[in-house]
C-alpha cells in the first residue's frame, strides 16, 4: 500500500486516548504485514517484532503513539445535549461548528454548535467560549440520548483526510498517525535491507495523557536503543523560528540534553551521506515526547527523537508532508541497519 493510502487508512481509525482498545486489532493487522510477530499488551500497546539477522542482535525500540486527542462526555442535559470535557490538549477555540462522532452504544454523528453571530452581543464577540459552556448536539431528545450515550463515552473529531498540493495531506490525527505511517514505512524499508538488531516497532497508547505507553514499553522491552517518532510544529507565520519547522524540508532530528549525543551526531551524518532531507530540532527541555520517558528509564536508554513537521497541531486540519514521512522512515530504517558502520565519534556514553 502506498504511503498516501496508508496514512488515509490510519487516520480513519478512531483511537481516542484511553479507548485504544477499539483500534488495537486494526493497528495490529497493519503492522503484521511487515513483522515476524505482533502482540497486543494489557494496555493495548501494539508490539511488532522484526527479528534481527545478525549475530548477537541488540534490541532497538521504535515507537509511535497511536492515541488521538478528543473529548469525553460528562453529562446529558434535559434536552438531550451532551456536556463534555477534553481528552488531551484540545483548544476550545478550535471547536466551534465542529463535526464529531460520539462513540456511545453505537457511533453517533454529532455537532458542536455555535451561537449565530446575529445573537451575540457586540461586547461578547471577542470573548472566548469556555469548554464547559459548549454542547454536542446529536439530534436526539433526552430519553433517546440517555439510552445511546453514557457519561464517560469518548468523542472523536470528524474530518476526512484531504490531499493538498505539494504532497501534503491534512486531517485530524496527523498527530500521531503520520508517525505510525512512518513506522510502517520504516518496516517496509527494513524488509529490503539486512539488519543485525531485533526491531520492536511499537504503536503505543496514551501518550497524550502522560506518556503512559512509553513507561510500560520501555520497562517490558528493556531496549539498548530507543527511537521515538512524533510530530513537531510545522512553520506558521507567527511561530518562533527555532520552535517550528518547514514542511517538506525533511525529518527533524532532535538534539539536546536528554537525547543521546552520540546517536544524534551519527544519525545526522548518515542523513547527509544518504542525502535524506533533515532538519535540526534543538530541545532544551525534555521534549514532552516519549523520548523523555526513554532517556531516564531503567538505567537510562540512549534515545533518539525523530519528528515529522505538522502544521496546526491539535486542530482538525493538521497538515503534514508525505515527503517528510518518507524521510523519517528511511532515516530510521537505515540508521538501525547501518549505525555500526558509521564512524561514531564522541564520548563512550555521550
Amino acid at each position: 500500500m502506498e504511503c498516501r493510502d496508508l496514512l488515509k487508512k490510519l487516520c480513519s481509525i478512531n483511537a481516542v486516548i484511553g479507548r485504544e482498545d477499539a483500534a488495537a486489532q486494526a493497528i495490529s493487522g497493519i503492522l503484521s504485514d511487515y513483522c515476524d510477530e505482533v502482540r497486543v499488551d494489557a494496555f493495548y500497546n501494539v508490539i511488532g517484532l522484526r527479528k534481527g539477522q545478525g549475530e548477537n542482535p541488540r534490541n532497538v525500540l521504535v515507537s509511535a503513539h497511536y492515541d488521538q486527542i478528543g473529548l469525553i462526555v460528562t453529562g446529558i442535559d434535559e434536552n438531550g445535549f451532551l456536556r463534555f470535557t477534553n481528552m488531551g490538549g484540545v483548544d476550545p477555540k478550535t471547536l466551534a461548528a465542529m463535526e464529531v462522532t460520539v462513540h456511545g452504544r453505537r457511533d453517533l454523528h454529532g455537532v458542536i454548535g455555535s451561537k449565530p453571530p446575529h445573537l451575540i452581543p457586540p461586547e461578547d464577540s471577542d470573548k472566548p467560549v469556555k469548554l464547559e459552556d459548549m454542547l454536542i448536539d446529536i439530534g436526539y431528545g433526552a430519553e433517546q440520548a440517555r439510552e445511546l450515550v453514557s457519561v464517560g463515552d469518548v468523542v472523536s473529531f470528524r474530518f476526512p483526510v484531504l490531499e493538498l498540493k505539494n504532497n501534503r495531506m491534512a486531517g485530524r490525527s496527523m498527530d500521531n498517525r503520520s508517525s505510525v505511517a512512518a513506522l510502517v514505512e520504516m518496516l517496509k524499508e527494513l524488509e529490503r535491507i539486512r539488519h543485525r538488531d531485533n526491531v520492536y516497532a511499537v504503536a503505543t497508547v496514551q501518550e497524550e495523557s502522560g506518556l503512559v505507553g512509553a513507561f510500560m514499553t520501555s520497562w517490558n522491552l528493556k531496549p539498548d536503543l530507543a527511537i521515538a517518532i512524533d510530530v513537531c510544529h510545522g512553520d506558521m507565520p507567527d511561530a518562533p523560528s527555532d520552535e517550528s519547522f518547514p514542511l517538506g524540508k525533511g525529518v527533524a532530528i532532535a538534539v539536546g540534553p536528554i537525547l543521546s549525543r552520540k546517536h544524534a551526531r551519527a544519525c545526522i551524518k548518515l542523513a547527509r551521506q544518504e542525502k535524506i532531507p533533515y532538519q535540526i530540532d534543538a530541545e532544551e527541555k525534555d521534549t514532552g515526547t516519549e523520548a523523555a520517558v526513554y532517556s531516564s528509564a531503567l538505567e537510562g536508554i540512549p534515545t533518539l527523537l525523530l519528528s515529522i513537521p505538522a502544521k496546526y497541531m491539535h486542530t482538525a486540519v493538521e497538515m503534514v508532508s508525505l515527503d517528510d514521512i518518507g524521510a523519517a522512515a528511511r532515516l530510521a530504517a537505515r540508521y538501525i541497519a547501518f549505525r555500526d558502520e558509521l564512524d561514531q565519534e564522541g564520548d563512550s556514553n555521550d
Binding site: I17, G18, R19, D21, D41, A42, F43, I72, V73, T74, G75, R83, T85, N86, M87, E132, S150, V151, G152, Q206, S209, G210, V212, F215, M216, W219, N220
Partner: protein
C-alpha cells in the same frame, strides 16, 4: 461506619507524618489479616493471602496540612503548605499540631485586596509572645492540620480529612469482613498522596499486583452555581472513568459497572479534569498495572468541613467486596 471514620479522621496525619493513622488502622485490622507491615515510605501494607489474582486496594492516610517554616521574633509562625491547601479557605481556621497545640491562621491585614492573600502573607498565632516562648512549643519543620471534628447529621458526615480517611475506613471495613475469595488482597494504606502520589508508587512496585483500585474522594456538582460536575451526593459511589492522573482501564471500569448492576448497587461515573489519585502512580509502575478507581462523592474537598453521604460509603464497600471476588 461513623465510628470507624471518626477514629480515623481524628488521628493526626499530614503527608510524611502518617504514623498515628497507621497505628489506628493497625489496631483495627491486625487480627483480621495474614500479614501487616510498613515500608520505607511509611505505607501500611496488610495482606489477606490467596492463590488467585493479586489485587491491590489503595487508600491514602495523609491529609493536607501546614508546615512551619519560620518563627518570628514575636512568636508568630510562618508556614508553607503540605498538599493542595487553598489559601482563602485557611483563613480564620483553627489548626492543631501533633502535640495538641492549637493555632489560628490569619493574614497581613495591610494587603490591598483579598486577591493578594497568599500563603506568604499569612501566619499562625499560637498565643506565644516571643520567639523563645514559641520555640518551647513548636519547632521549624513541625506540621499542623485543620481542625474539624466529625459530625453525623441527616445521614451525612461532616468532617475534616474525609479525604481520604473515608477510603481508609472502607478498606478497614473490608478487611474486617474477611471477604471469601481465592484472590490475594493487599489493603494498602498509602502515604504522601497529597504531595504527589508518592507512597503508592513504591508500594505498587514492591507488590506488583495484577490490578489495582484506588479508593479516594471526588468532587460533586450539586451545590449552588458549582462548576459543572456529574457526580452528586447520595447517588452512589463514583466509578472512575478518568481524572487528571489516570484513565481507568476500560476492562476494570466495565467490571466495576457489572458488579454494581449485578448487586443492585447505585453508582455514578467520575470524569474530572483536575485532581489525581494513587491510581495515577500505580498504573505506570513497573510494566504497567491495570488500574481503576472507586470514589466517594464529597463536597468541599480540602476544606476543614468535607461532607459525604454514609450510604455512598457503605455502597462503595459493598461494590468493592463484590469486585474483589473477580
Amino acid at each position: 461506619m461513623f465510628d470507624t471514620i471518626s477514629m480515623l479522621v481524628n488521628a493526626f496525619g499530614p503527608s510524611g507524618r502518617e504514623n498515628r493513622v497507621a497505628e489506628v488502622v493497625t489496631q483495627m485490622i491486625k487480627d483480621k489479616v495474614d500479614e501487616i507491615s510498613s515500608d520505607a515510605m511509611g505505607n501500611l501494607i496488610a495482606v489477606k493471602k490467596g492463590s488467585g489474582k493479586k489485587i491491590m486496594l489503595a487508600a491514602h492516610m495523609d491529609e493536607i496540612g501546614l508546615i512551619i517554616t519560620t518563627i518570628d521574633d514575636k512568636g508568630f509562625l510562618r508556614f508553607g503548605t503540605v498538599g493542595g491547601v487553598l489559601p482563602l479557605i485557611s483563613l480564620g481556621q483553627r489548626v492543631v499540631f501533633e502535640n495538641g497545640l492549637t493555632g489560628v491562621v490569619w493574614y497581613e491585614e495591610s494587603i490591598e485586596s483579598m486577591k493578594d492573600a497568599k500563603i506568604d502573607k499569612m501566619y499562625i498565632d499560637i498565643g506565644a509572645k516571643t520567639r523563645e516562648q514559641a520555640r518551647e512549643l513548636v519547632e521549624i519543620g513541625d506540621m499542623a492540620v485543620f481542625e474539624g471534628r466529625p459530625v453525623e447529621q441527616n445521614g451525612l458526615i461532616i468532617s475534616k480529612a474525609l479525604d481520604d480517611r473515608v477510603g481508609c475506613a472502607i478498606l478497614a471495613e473490608l478487611a474486617r469482613r474477611c471477604p471469601a475469595t481465592d484472590n490475594e488482597i493487599y489493603y494498602v494504606f498509602t502515604t504522601q498522596e497529597e504531595v504527589g502520589l508518592r507512597g503508592a508508587r513504591t508500594a505498587a512496585y514492591a507488590i506488583r499486583p495484577d490490578l489495582a483500585i484506588a479508593i479516594d474522594v471526588t468532587r460533586t456538582g450539586d451545590t449552588p452555581k458549582s462548576k459543572p460536575g456529574a457526580v452528586s451526593l447520595g447517588e452512589g459511589p463514583a466509578i472512575k472513568v478518568k481524572d487528571n492522573s489516570v484513565i481507568a482501564h476500560p476492562r476494570i471500569r466495565e467490571r466495576l459497572v457489572d458488579c454494581a448492576r449485578e448487586n443492585g448497587i447505585p453508582f455514578q461515573f467520575e470524569v474530572v479534569d483536575k485532581g489525581g489519585t494513587d491510581a495515577g502512580s500505580i498504573h505506570i509502575t513497573a510494566g504497567g498495572i491495570p488500574s481503576g478507581g472507586v470514589s466517594i462523592p464529597t463536597r468541599f474537598i480540602h476544606s476543614a468541613s468535607e461532607i459525604v453521604d454514609i450510604k455512598d460509603v457503605e455502597n462503595a464497600a459493598r461494590l468493592l467486596e463484590a469486585f474483589i471476588k473477580f
